[in-house]
Amino acid sequence: MKLTDRVRIPQEVLARQVGEETVMLDLAKGAYFGLDPVGARMWQLLAEGKTLVEVCDAIVEEYDVSRDAVEQDLLGLVADLMSQGLLVPA
């Protein structure tokens, strides 16, 4: 996965913001997942169709953290969500 890539949420995944978290349900597998507030914000930006680099830009600005750390966390999160089938390449 490259930072210029985009991802999308598959049809069978339903996600909702609950307070600052996001809860997700894979309808096909009946499995639930949760994201903490930062992960939830990344998910929200990815769902809007932003590239990974655009998501990094937004997170660096909003949370005042180093770009390297955000890139690493985002790539890790996306890889994890893709392995669970919660995200697919756009």
């Binding site: 339903l14 909702r16 913001q17 609950v18 307070g19 809860v23 997700m24 349900l25 309808l27 009946g30 639930y32």
Partner: protein, 370 residues
């Protein structure tokens, strides 16, 4: 707030979110399947409220899914839902068709998910009412997106009227405080609410006293800004204060009722009924259901020779479900007896039926509702 309580609320909120996420996932499947079959539907109550009114699905629990479909599409709807594993393996369309004139909805359980779906074709069982709000409900329904599916929902005005009527007319206030919160949230979330339309539709149909009482309680106890002119038009400013106090007492006490009684308002009414003939008729009607209703309840074809045997199964199930509650009601528990008597008084008051003593049926005066 104490940490333990805050933590408990967090847990409950998360549990509600997960359960509702599953409910919306199921609703999406249902809405798409019915849409594909050309059957329009209106998402009712919790489905509409949690996502579109509360705006956060963790804040509004729902125990089942309620949808409204046109009466002439009910049979087809049940066939489509059968394909999604709702209901029974048997073809029960004929039984459903036979119930259209006597019932207002049909409950179907998913074979494995434990999701309970109620398919409504009317808002309640007042068949043959000269003024039926249903045509206006369909006419004013608005397009919405629920559970990521396209659907119809009630206009905010009819949603408010329906929530009020459900609380007052269907449950006689033997329900939870959640209904008053629903009213407050609808008003908060809809600054452009057409109060003139609410007053017009509220007075045009059978539910006028129920609507006015529910709005009055929401106004008095939760500070919901119901315009004084609307309350006056609905008669909410001239309601019997004693009955309003009874309604609030019932609302506050409903959650402490034995489990079997919360979902069985009829049992409360039967228990409090003093007229033995009426009491027997009520019991008989709930125990010995018409063939079509029995067929649907147990998934047996309506023309099956086995069907009469299910009257015995029904009696067994009623005893299992309600025996403890009925025993408590009739074993002289004074608190429960008062709950039952209050329920019957409220039921008669809301429906406009005269109390046996010619008055409201209250034995002692009560303080004003606010």
């Amino acid at each position: 707030m104490p940490v333990t309580l805050a933590s408990q609320l967090d847990e409950e909120r998360r549990a509600t979110a997960l359960l509702n996420l599953r409910n919306y996932g199921e609703f999406r499947r249902i809405a798409r399947a019915l849409g594909g079959a050309g059957i329009p539907l209106i998402a009712l109550k919790g489905l509409h409220l949690a996502e579109l009114v509360y705006g956060d699905i963790s804040l509004r629990p729902m125990s089942d899914l309620d949808i409204l479909v046109p009466r002439d599409r009910v049979e087809r709807c049940i066939a489509v839902l059968r394909g999604l594993e709702y209901g029974y393996d048997e073809e029960l369309g004929a039984a459903a068709a036979a119930m259209l004139d006597t019932k207002c909805n049909l409950g179907l359980e998913h074979a494995t998910l434990g999701v309970w779906l109620e398919v409504h074709w009317m808002l309640d069982e007042r068949h043959g009412e000269p003024t039926d709000p249903l045509p206006d409900v369909w006419k004013s329904a608005v397009a919405a997106r629920l559970g990521d599916a396209e659907t119809l929902v009630m206009s905010p005005e009819f949603l408010l009227l329906h929530v009020c009527a459900h609380l007052a007319c269907n449950h006689s206030f033997s329900f939870s405080l959640r209904a008053l919160c629903d009213i407050a949230e609808i008003v908060r979330a809809t600054p452009t609410l057409d109060w003139a339309a609410i007053a017009e539709h509220g007075t045009r149909h059978y539910w006028k006293r129920g609507i006015s009482a529910a709005l009055r309680l929401a106004h008095d106890y939760l500070g919901v800004p119901v315009p004084a002119s609307v309350l006056a038009e609905l008669g909410g400013d001239a309601l019997d204060p004693g009955m309003l106090a009874d309604a609030m007492t019932q609302l506050l006490g409903a959650t402490s009722l034995p489990e079997g009684l919360v979902t069985a308002p009829n049992l409360l009414a039967v228990s409090a009924e003093k007229n033995l003939r009426k009491k027997a008729a009520l019991l008989w009607s709930r125990a010995f259901l018409p063939r079509a209703e029995l067929a649907l309840l147990y998934g047996v074809p309506v023309d099956s020779p086995r069907l009469p045997l299910y009257h015995a199964v029904r009696l067994r199930d009623l005893l299992r479900r309600y025996a403890a509650g009925a025993w408590a009601l009739n074993a002289g528990d004074p608190a429960l007896a008062e709950v039952a008597a209050r329920h019957l008084r409220l039921q008669r008051w809301i429906s406009g039926a005269p109390a046996p003593d010619g008055g409201t049926g209250r034995s002692t005066p009560a303080p004003a509702g606010s």
